[in-house]
């Protein structure tokens, strides 16, 4: 069953890469991330598939705004004459890179480690994670307990990318005028009305993901993206642009600071071992902080892109 899904996955991947007209790329990429979300289910990783599903709407929106600006701004496009393409030019453009990638592929596959995957580490984690970190969800307890160091730097990378997006497209005054975005309809048509009904469901689901991230599949990252996609729907409904960036940027940096303090206090100073009953609140607090950070980060990126759209 999984092999057929993976064949579809590769087909949609090839389609997305070689699409001639740019508009088709968005549709093919949406199919690509849909099928990869299902593949993650079958691989036994529901958290990752939920992250992929929640994020696919974001990458679609970023692609759309990027193409919108591309079509308006770019004027010089090389119209390479297909018929006059000599072999040497086509060779340079197509055949050489093809055999280059094929060579690397063969090398890589040849040196791929074979033999059965020894499951020592997996058994260790599965056996120990309830005692050390608490909570039922092994993946959450790993990236919050055993490998909290990576999570801190992941949050730092998110902060850096948010800051770079904000400042590369910074506009001093973000006026609260009506931000017209690609013909978003007035607020009484059918689709906007149903979004208004569905939006609370998305918000409640995001909060659900955060709060019991350590029991059922979920956790800070997916919950944050779910809440951020609630703000996308809010933008679709009200189509007004009243997000104050200064406050959100400061607030995001504060969340990041409290995240570091909490992690350092708990894991590195060893409070963990003396007060075992504080474990579940620690997991909850970390999940909430990460979710707030991710949600603010994505809101800023989304609204900066909407600002791009209007300029």
């Amino acid at each position: 069953m999984i092999y057929v899904l993976l064949v579809f996955w590769i087909i949609s991947g090839i389609l997305a890469i070689q699409a001639r007209k740019l508009i088709r790329i968005i549709v093919y990429l949406a199919i690509f991330s849909t099928i990869s979300a299902v593949c993650f289910f079958v691989f036994g990783a529901p958290d990752v598939s939920m992250a992929e599903v929640a994020v696919s709407s974001f990458s679609t929106v970023f692609l759309i705004v990027c193409f919108e600006k591309y079509f308006t701004l770019v004027t010089e496009v090389t119209k390479d004459p297909p018929h006059k393409e000599k072999l040497s030019k086509r060779a340079r453009k197509f055949i050489l890179p093809a055999c280059f990638t094929a060579a690397i592929a063969l090398l890589f596959v040849y040196f791929l480690p074979d033999g059965t995957v020894n499951t020592y580490l997996r058994d260790l984690y599965l056996y120990r994670f309830r005692l050390d970190v608490g909570g039922e969800n092994a993946a959450t307890s790993i990236y919050l307990g055993y490998r909290v160091y990576d999570t801190l730097f992941e949050a730092l990378m998110l902060l850096i990318s948010v800051v770079s997006v904000a400042h590369m497209s910074w506009r001093a005054e973000t006026d609260e005028t009506d931000a017209h975005f690609a013909g978003v309809t007035k607020s009484d048509t059918v689709d906007v009305y149903t979004i208004r009904i569905l939006c609370p469901a998305m918000l409640i689901f995001g909060v659900y993901l955060i709060l019991n991230g350590h029991i059922s599949p979920g956790g800070g990252f997916q919950g944050g993206v779910a809440i951020a996609s609630f703000f996308i729907c809010r933008y679709l409904i009200y189509d007004v642009y009243d997000v104050r960036f200064g406050k959100i940027m400061i607030f995001e940096k504060m969340t990041f600071a409290t995240l570091i303090i909490l992690a350092v206090l708990f894991v590195f100073l060893g409070v963990y071992i003396q007060l075992p009953q504080l474990r579940i609140p620690y997991l909850l607090a970390m999940n909430m902080l990460i979710a707030m950070k991710v949600a603010f980060g994505f809101i800023i990126i989304f609204y900066r892109y909407i600002a791009f759209e209007r300029r």
Binding site: W9, I17, A45, V48, F58, T75, F108, L126, Y305
Partner: protein, 114 residues
């Protein structure tokens, strides 16, 4: 050479997007193949140690056929950061297209020369 066939699919996708990256005429095609490359890497990590009918590692002990929680924990953050990095790429692309009015590599090289 008895690794699972599933990993081969992910590796194949990685090299297809690498090929797409190499032969991309414009910057946009490069960003698109980078997106597919990221998802291919995530798929490869998750397909390690895959048996049919594998169960997620939530609330299960060592006994039965459970998926490895470690790569899953790393891949959740990898996807979120991947999208944030894609957003940064696109901001640069928009700034580039505003200044140079083009996103084709050949024209950009000529323009840089001046």
């Amino acid at each position: 050479m008895n690794f699972e066939i599933v990993e081969l699919f992910a590796i194949a996708m990685f090299f297809i997007s690498l090929f797409g990256l190499i032969t991309s005429k414009g910057v946009i095609k490069g960003i698109i193949s980078m997106i597919t490359m990221e998802i291919a890497v995530v798929m490869f990590f998750l397909s390690i140690g895959f048996q049919t009918g594998i169960l997620p590692p939530i609330g299960r002990d060592v006994g039965d056929n459970v998926a490895d929680p470690l790569p899953q924990a790393l891949m959740i953050t990898a996807i979120i950061i991947g999208v944030a990095v894609t957003a940064v790429n696109m901001t640069m692309l928009i700034a580039l297209s505003r200044q140079f009015k083009t996103t084709e590599w050949d024209i950009l090289k000529k323009k840089k020369m001046e």
